[in-house]
Amino acid sequence: MKHERTRSPARGSREPLSLRLYVAGEAPNSATAIRNLGILFPGGETSGQPVEIEIVDLLKEPLRGLADGVVLSPTLVRLAPPPVRRVVGNLSNHGAVLLALGVVP
C-alpha cells in the first residue's frame, strides 16, 4: 500500500480538496499525471484551499481499482467536496482538469 498524503497547512476554514490518483506504477502516463498534479497544486494547496492527494498504485493494489470502479490509468478522483468527480488521463490538459475539479485558477 502506497499512500502519499500531502497535507498543506490550513489557511482559513475552507474544506480541503480531497483527491485520489490511481496510477500504474511508473507507466509514462501515470508518471506524467503525478508530475502534473505537482504543477497544478504547488505546495499542496490551491488558492489557499488545502489539497489532500492520495496516490494508489494499481500495480501494488490491483484489486482496489476494481473495487473502486477505476478502469483506466491514470484516473484522478475528487472525493471531496462532493459530488465525486473523475478525470481520466495524464492530466496534461490543465484547464479541463481544474474545471472538472471545480478549482478556479
Partner: protein
Amino acid sequence: MGVKKVPDRLQTFVPGLDALTDGGLPRGRTTLIVGGPGCGKTILALQVLVEGARRAREPGIFVAFEERAREIVKDAGAFGWDLPRLQKDRLFFLDAHLDSSTVHGGAFDLAGLLASLSAKARQLGARRIVFDGIDMLLTQLDDPAAERLELQRLHQWLYESGLSGIITAKTEQVDPAHSPRYGFLQYLADCVVLLQHRLVNTVASRHLQILKYRGGKASCNEFPMVLSARGVEVAGIAADSLDHEVSTERVSSGVPDLDAMLDGGYFRGTSILISGAPGTARSTLAGAFADAACRRRENTLFVSFDEGSAQIVRNLSSVGIRLDRHLKSGRLRMHSAPARARTAEEHLLQIRSLLESHRSRCLVIDPLSALTSIVGEAEARGNLERFIALQRNLNITTVTTSLLEGFDALRESTSAGVSTLMDTWIHLSYVIQGGERNRALTIIKSRGMGHSNQVRELLLARRGLSLTDVYTAGGNVLMGTLRWEREEQERAARLQEGRAFEERQRVTGDSVADLSSRMEALRRERDERERDLKRMKAARTGDVGTGATRIGEIGRMRRGRANPKGTGPARPPRRKP
C-alpha cells in the same frame, strides 16, 4: 516457439460454432469478433464465457467497455443464463464503461486495468476473458498511435496471461473485413470472426464467418446464425460427410396403394418431397404420412407455414385422416408459424429444437417452399442442405411439400435445387380432361428403390386416400369421368359378354338336355324293341313245342278219343333219355 503449430481448442459450446472451427476457438490466444451494431457480438462473446463457466467450469471475466455490466447481466437473463449464480464464484463482470461525466484529462493507458485484471484472474482462476466493445475504448484514446500502443499492450498481456481472450469490436464499415481501423487488431488476433446482419428479401438474417484462424483449419464460408431463446446458434456444417447410416427399413406413406408403388414405402430417415399445384392434396398426402407414423407409435412433428393446426386437423378429418386423437395422446405435435416471422434458418433451428424436445421420428414440413421463398435461392439451398443432412443423421423421416404454381411445375421445383436434395420426389398434378380436373400422382424419383413409373389417379374419399389405375387411350391418360366412362364401357362390355356366354351356355345346356331327353326316349324305345325281340324269340321257341303237343293231340284225337287226356300207352313217349 513454432512448436505449437496447431493451437489447443477452446470449446465455445455455442451450437454449431465448434464444428465450424474444428473444435473451438484458439485456446490461450486472442479471438476478435467484429461486426456492425446489433449483430450479436456481445451475446456471442458472453455465451462463450458463460458456457465455459457452466459446462467446462472455467471461470471467466467480462470487461464491458460499451454497455453497463449490469445491463448485460440483465439482458442475459433472457437466454436463461443464470448469471447471478455464476457471478458468485465463476464469473466477474467489470464495468469499464466510461460514463459521460468522466472528464478527459489527457492520455491514458490500460496498464492499470490490466494489472487489476491479472490480480482478479488469479483470484478467480479465470481461463477466459472478454473485452467487449474495444472500439469504445479506442475512440476514447482518440489517437491512432495510442490505439496501436494499447492494443499491442492488451495483446501482449493476453499472451502472457495464458487466458483465452475474446475482443469484440463494432464496425460501421460496409466491408468490415477491410476496415483500416481494425486492420491492426485483426493482425494481432489469432482468430477473427465476422458477424453480419442484413436483409435478405426483406427478412433480416444473421451470418457468421471465420475470416482468419491462425494455425488451424476453419471453414471460411459464411454461415447463418440465429439468436434463439438459448442464445446464439450457428447453422454449422451438419453435413460434414454424407456418410450417414443408411436404412433399408420402410415406413408407410399412409396410402397403401402408394406404398405398393414405392415397393414397400419410403425408406426410414430419408427425405421426401411432395410437389404440386395448389389443391392437389399435397397436405393431405403429408397428413396421411403423419397419421400412419402416429399409428405406428412414432412421435411425429407436423410443421405448417400455411394454416393453423386446428384447420389442418379439420381438413384432414374430411378424408378420414384423424389427427386429433394423436394430438391428444401427444404422439403428434403440430407447430404453425407464419413463414415471414423469422428467417429460414431460425425456423429450421426451431424445428430442430422441437424435434429434440419431442423426440420425433417423423417430420412433416408443409410447405417447405414457404421457407425457400423467404430467402435467396442459393441461401435456401445451403439452409436446406444442412437441414436435410441433419434429419438424415438423426434418422428422421421427413416429408416436405412444395407449392408449385404455373404449368411448368417441374422446372420451378428444381429452382433452389430442393428436389435434388430429396431422396424421393412425388409430384401431384391436375389433369384437365373432359371438363374436369383430376389429381394425378407420379413418382418422379425415389432413390434406391424400384418404384412404379406409372401415373396414377389420386382419389380422396371420406374413408381415405387411394390410388387407382388410369387408362391410357390414344396416348392420353384417362381420369375422372372419362376413366369412369371407360370403366363403365368395359363393365358393360363384360356384362354383355357374360350374358352372351350365359345364353350360349343356356342354349347348349338346353340342347344337351333336349338331346338327353331324346336319348332317353330313344333308349326306352330301344329297350322296348329289345324286349319285343326277346318276346319274339321266346315266342318262336314256344311255337315249336306247342306245335308238337298239338300234333300229339291231333294224333290222339285221330286215334279216337280213347285217351282223351292225351298220354295213353298206345304210343310210347317220343323223347326217351
